[in-house]
Symmetry: C2
Subunit: 348 residues, 2 copies
C-alpha cells in the first residue's frame, strides 16, 4: 500500500511531501489510518543527524494515534474501528531476558525503532508517523481509550510514557514530593501525571513566565532556578526529581534539593557530559537515574492511567505543511506543549 | 579521666603521643578500654585538612573495638566486660525524621562525628579512637559478637558498614552479579560481604597482581580495568557495581558494565568532579547512587551478619608508634587491607 508522508531527503533538507510503500497486512499485523502524530524534539535531532546514525529518506514520528482499518487473521488485541497507538518501538526479538521482563526497549538484539531504524531483519527501513497510514505487528500497537481526545493522546506515546515510567519506578504516590525540572513537552506531562498520582509537585524552571501554567497543570509550588535563593529554600525537600532539561546544567545543584535516599531521574539528555561529584551523591545516599521510554505493558498501563484521570497532553494541532515551522518553534520552546499533526492533512 | 592518645597538633604535624581528658561516665554512657583502632584513609584526609574543616588537636580513629569497663546507671544495652564497637558517629539529635528512620548519619541537626567534630552541644570537641579509652552514649555503641577476632572487627565499623549498606540497599542476594571496583580497604570488605550474601562477585582492578587475592577473598571473576577489552567482555553483565575508587575515573565506562536497571554505587569519592553523560544512564535505565556508612541499627545488623559468616577485615596489626609510617603505606596502597592499631600500645 502506498501512503502519503512528510519525509526528509537528507540531514539538511526540510521535510516535504512524499509517498512510501507500507507492507501488506500480515497475519499478526494491524493497519492504522493515522489521526494524529506528535512532534517530539528527538524527531528534530534525528532528522538533522544530530544523534549519530541517520538513514534517509527519513519519515519521523513516534507519537502516533490512529484508527484500525485492517487486521491480520491471527490478531486478537485490536479490531477494525478501534483506536490504537504506536510509540517509539515497532518490534523486538520478544525472546530475550528484557523482552521477557516487558522491557522491550532494552531488547538484547536491539529493538526496531519506529523510524530511522530497521525491522528486526536489519534490512527493511522503518518509517514513522508523519504519514496517512502505518502497519505494525499487534504486540507493538497500544489500545487507546475512547474517552480521550486523540490529538492529545498522540504525545502520550513518547512524552507520556517517558515521564510516567520513572514516576512508577521510583514509587510516586500520594504525598510524594516531586520536583519537575523544566516545563516543555516532557515537563508538562510529568507535572500532570505526578499530580494525578497524588504527588505534591513543584515546577522548577528558569522562567518565571511558566509559573501560571505550572499551577494550571497541577503544580503546588514553583521554584525559579535562575535565582540561587531557590536552591536554599528548597534544599533537601524532594523525594524525586524528574529532570527533563536537555541543555547542560549543574546536577550537583539539583541533587541538593533531594532528601536523603531521594532520586533524580534524567529523561532529558544534554548533548555534552556534565560534571558530577560523587560527594553530592554520598552525602544523603542520593541517586541519579536514567529512564528511557517504557515497555509495551507499561505504556498500556500509562494509557489506562491517563484514561482514568482524563489526562492528555496540551497540544497545538497543525497541518502537515506547518511541520518545518513547528520544528523551528519547538527549538525555541514556543509551543504549549506539543505539536500534534492532523494526519488527514498528509493527503493534501 | 585522662587517656593516652596519638594526636596531630596541626595539619602539617605528624601524629604524636599526647594525653586528653574523657568525660565522666554519665547515666547513659559506656566507657571502653579500646583494644584495636583501624586506620581509615579518611583519617589521613582529615588529619591533613584535605577535606575542609579540620579541628586541632585531632585524635583520629572511627573504627573502634574495645571492652566495656564502666556503664551508667541507665544503660541496658551493654554490661561491663562486653565487647563493644564505635564507628563514625557518637551522637545525633535522635528526634528528627532521619534519626527516627534509623539513619542517624543523616540527622537533620547534623550528627556528632567520632572525631574532628563536636558533641551535639556544638562546643565540646570529639576525639577518636587512637586512644586507650573512650566514653560514648550507649545508643552509639555497638554490640560486638564474641566469635570474631577483635583486630579484624575494628575496620568493620567503617569499611564494613560502608560496603554492607549499599549491598543491602540494592538487594544483593544469591545469584546477584556484583562487580567491586578497586581492591583496597573498602573493596576487600565489599568482596567478602557480597560473596557471603551469595553474590557472584567480580573484582575489577587496574592491577593484575590483585587477582589471586580477589579469588581468595571470594571473587569468582577478575576484570583488568587497565585493558579496554575488559569493558567489552563484561559489558551489560552486572546488577550492581560497588565503586570504591577515590581517584578520578570514567563513570561512563563502568556504567556500560551494568545490565538494564543496574546500579553503580559510589563509596569512594574522587576529590574532583567527574564527567558524566545522561545518555549513559538513560540507555538501560541505569542508576548511580552514593552511600554513606550506615545507621546504628544497620551497623549492628552488619556485625551480626559478619558473626554468622565468621567474617572480619584482613588486617596488619601495628603499634601506635608505627601510625605515621602506616599512613604513608596506606597512601601507597601498601597494606592488605587495613591497619589495625593495638590500642594497648598507646600506653607506651
Amino acid at each position: 500500500m502506498k501512503t502519503r508522508v512528510y519525509a526528509a531527503a537528507s540531514a539538511s533538507a526540510p521535510l516535504a511531501p512524499s509517498t512510501i510503500e507500507r507492507r501488506a497486512v500480515g497475519p499478526r499485523d494491524v493497519q492504522l489510518d493515522i489521526l494524529f502524530s506528535g512532534i517530539c524534539h528527538s524527531d528534530i535531532h534525528q532528522v538533522r543527524a544530530e544523534w549519530g546514525k541517520a538513514a534517509f529518506p527519513m519519515v519521523p514520528g513516534h507519537e502516533i494515534v490512529g484508527r484500525v482499518t485492517a487486521i491480520g487473521a491471527e490478531v486478537t488485541k485490536l479490531a477494525v474501528g478501534d483506536l490504537a497507538g504506536i510509540g517509539c518501538l515497532v518490534d523486538s526479538c520478544r525472546t530475550c531476558t528484557y523482552c521477557g521482563e516487558h522491557h522491550e526497549q532494552f531488547c538484547e538484539r536491539g529493538a526496531a525503532g519506529t523510524y530511522n531504524s530497521t525491522e528486526m531483519d536489519r534490512v527493511t527501513p522503518t518509517y514513522g508517523g508523519y504519514a496517512q497510514q502505518i502497519v505494525v505487528t499487534e504486540h507493538f500497537a497500544l489500545k487507546v481509550p475512547n474517552n480521550l481526545a486523540p490529538a492529545g493522546v498522540a504525545p502520550l506515546l513518547c512524552a507520556g510514557i517517558t515521564t510516567y515510567s520513572p514516576l512508577r519506578q521510583f514509587d510516586c504516590k500520594p504525598g510524594t514530593r516531586v520536583g519537575v525540572v523544566g516545563l516543555g513537552g516532557l515537563g508538562h506531562m510529568a507535572v500532570k501525571i505526578a499530580a494525578a498520582m497524588g504527588a505534591e509537585v513543584t515546577m522548577l524552571s528558569t522562567s518565571q513566565s511558566k509559573q501560571a501554567d505550572a499551577t494550571r497543570l497541577g503544580a503546588v509550588d514553583f521554584g525559579l532556578t535562575s535565582d540561587p535563593a531557590t536552591f536554599t529554600r528548597l534544599a533537601g525537600r524532594y523525594d524525586l526529581l524528574i529532570d527533563t532539561v536537555s541543555a547542560k546544567h549543574d546536577y550537583g545543584a539539583y541533587l541538593k534539593l533531594l532528601r536523603p535516599f531521594g532520586t533524580m531521574v534524567c529523561v532529558g539528555a544534554p548533548p555534552e557530559p556534565s560534571l558530577m561529584s560523587a560527594f553530592s551523591l554520598i552525602g544523603g545516599n542520593k541517586r541519579i537515574a536514567g529512564s528511557a521510554i517504557g515497555g509495551i505493558r507499561e505504556t498500556q498501563e500509562m494509557l489506562e492511567f491517563c484514561s482514568q484521570h482524563n489526562l492528555v497532553a496540551d497540544v497545538e494541532v497543525i497541518a502537515a505543511r506547518q511541520i518545518n515551522e513547528a520544528y523551528e518553534r519547538t527549538i525555541k520552546g514556543d509551543v504549549r506543549y506539543r505539536f500534534s499533526i492532523d494526519a488527514t492533512t498528509f493527503a493534501d
